[in-house]
């Protein structure tokens, strides 16, 4: 993967010598990640708490940010991208006597490569299909805080990380305007690999399911909807 990524960087940096166009852009959108195993863990933790609590946030779809640079041909483009995405959960219980919080914050930093192919156009809109792949660097912070009558009984924080890969097929609708392209993107991220979440400083300490003892994987699988603005750095002559 590193070799492919490096090759693309070299290709793009020298591509202006012979390509049609060089574009840079940023994509914003919402990623709806399944986080299936972490949701189960939340339920298991909740069941062990002796007083009533509620999962007030359950890994909702949340904004992602994806800067990219690509070589664009008339019907084809390739490029490199970097995605940052986060979501999280919270188990909460609060009353006059105290408060309990269990916060999970999960982030992914994903460098990757992508390719797009033009299919069709109508009324100045172009329809493209796309696919991308890369590395998923995941970090998870788990914080537990219990205070009763202004006294902190528990205040723990744990950090985990995992490394996996992704493949993301998708499609986009493109509207060009002067030096800009405005795009609506849709795709589905598939997490690949068996990288489980492990303690940040000790890879032997795995985050596991409380019942099955199975290691927990991040679970970034899910639909992605986004909006992209591309700027043409160098137009073809």
């Amino acid at each position: 993967m590193k070799k492919v990524f490096l090759s693309l960087v070299i290709l793009i940096s020298t591509g202006s010598l012979w390509s049609q166009e060089v574009e840079t852009g940023i994509q914003y959108g919402i990623a709806f990640s399944s986080m299936e195993e972490l949701r189960v863990l939340d339920l298991q933790i909740k069941a062990t708490i002796p007083f009533s609590t509620k999962i007030v946030a359950d890994f909702p779809g949340y904004w992602y940010y994806k800067p990219m640079i690509k070589l664009a041909y008339k019907k084809f483009s390739v490029g490199i991208e970097y995605t940052f995405n986060s979501t999280g959960s919270r188990i909460s219980g609060k009353d006059y006597s105290g408060e309990y919080l269990l916060d999970m914050r999960i982030r992914r930093n994903s460098p990757g490569i992508f390719a797009e192919y033009y299919l069709h156009s109508f009324k100045n809109f172009g329809i493209w299909i796309s696919s991308s792949g890369g590395i998923l660097f995941t970090s998870l912070t788990l914080k537990q805080d219990l205070s009763v009558i202004n006294t902190s009984l528990t205040n723990n924080s744990f950090s985990f990380k995992a490394k996996n890969y992704f493949f993301q097929p998708g499609a986009k609708l493109v509207y060009p305007w002067h030096s800009f392209d405005f795009e609506f993107n849709a795709g589905y991220l598939i997490e690949l690999g068996s990288g489980a979440l492990h303690e940040e400083k000790d890879s032997r300490q795995l985050l596991v399911n409380m019942v099955s003892d199975e290691p927990i994987k991040p679970g970034w699988n899910g639909f992605i909807l986004g909006f992209t603005i591309n700027y043409t750095l160098k137009k073809s002559k």
Binding site: G93, G98, L233
Partner: protein, 339 residues
């Protein structure tokens, strides 16, 4: 499109502006991490009232509690509403021992206490009933305190002496001082085991069937909490009348004996007189009054040896006598006739 130009710097023409805009957007990435400020406000009832605490162990109603020996000291509480969390015990102001219980039953071991007077303080804790986090984690509770004078008695087990009152055996034993006394249970050893012969609520027992045959008695204390405490015992030696022979010149020969000390328990005497010189057999005699204490000897010549067997016959109800074991009621005495 003009509208976009106004609000988005990205829409401004020029390559430098475009690049600037894109990288400005990148600067915001680190600060755009997911977070939430949602909390779940739990439903609680802050305005609860204290429960009514009931004490099941009756002897705790008093302010002074006697503890006999190193037996466990049982407490039992009920709460009208909120559940009981536990109780803290402290003796003479020393560090409290906390015992958790979900049913209000507590056992305080007194084994390490020295005999004598102590101050026992009990702090009983119940849930507040508010269902708050503090309530559920036992950080919020109602507290009930009570102090007792605790008197630890180790040498309460007593060996009783024979005591005669109005012609009856009377056992007098120390008083059990806690109000949870139900009764004293008196048992007597019959053949091979102790059998109950009476129950009393005062610390004395009159055996209306004992006539001095000797025996072992055992006293136990029953309490309302179901405890049975071994309270003491009496081991009585045989105390039957002494038989004597005498001659009254001109009147004849006689055997006599002292009236039984337990005369009101005796229905009379049974005597057998045997002339050891002629082997004619014993002559049985029955005396139906405990006041009759003399027998006239007939058929004896000077120098002859006789044997009298005197049996004290108890009134009905003597368990030892009932089973037909008479030797303990009998006394034998040889005599030589002198005219």
């Amino acid at each position: 499109m003009n509208k976009i130009k106004l609000v988005l710097p990205l829409a401004l023409p020029g390559i430098k502006t475009g690049i600037f805009s894109l990288f400005t957007a990148l600067l915001f990435l680190p600060s755009c991490e997911y977070d939430t400020d949602q909390v779940y406000n739990r439903t609680v009832d802050k305005n609860t009232t204290a429960p009514v605490i009931g004490m099941v162990e009756l002897h705790l109603e008093g302010d002074t509690v006697y503890v006999y020996g190193s037996t466990d000291f049982n407490f039992s509480f009920t709460s009208s509403d909120q559940e009981i969390i536990g109780a803290g015990f402290s003796v003479d102001g020393a560090d409290s021992l906390f015992v958790q219980s979900d049913n209000g039953q507590f056992r305080y071991r007194t084994a390490y206490l020295t005999p004598g007077q102590h101050t026992l303080k009990l702090d009983l804790y119940t849930h507040s009933g508010s269902s708050s986090i503090a309530d559920i984690l036992n950080y919020e509770s109602y507290q009930f305190s009570k102090t007792w004078v605790l008197i630890l008695v180790n040498d309460y087990y007593t060996y009783y002496e024979e005591n005669v009152s109005n012609g009856y055996l009377k056992l007098i034993f120390p008083k059990y001082r806690n109000p949870d006394l139900t009764e004293y249970v008196i048992s007597r050893f019959i053949i091979d085991s102790f059998r109950e012969v009476g129950r009393v609520t005062i610390p004395e027992f009159t055996d209306s069937t004992y006539v001095g045959e000797g025996g072992s008695y055992r006293v136990q204390v029953n309490t309302s909490s179901g405890d049975r405490i071994s309270w003491g015992e009496a081991n009585l030696n045989s105390d039957l009348p002494q038989v004597r022979y005498y001659n009254i010149p001109g009147s004849g020969n006689f055997v006599t004996w002292d009236r039984s000390k337990f005369f009101n328990a005796a229905s009379g005497y049974y005597a057998e007189i045997t002339n050891m010189n002629n082997n004619l057999g014993a002559i049985p005699t029955k005396l139906n009054s405990s006041a009759d204490t003399i027998l006239s000897l007939t058929g004896f010549q000077n120098g002859e040896v006789g044997l009298i067997k005197l049996r004290v016959v108890p009134k009905k109800g003597n368990l030892v006598y009932t089973v037909g074991y008479y030797p303990s009621f009998e006394r034998y005495q040889y005599f030589t006739v002198t005219n």
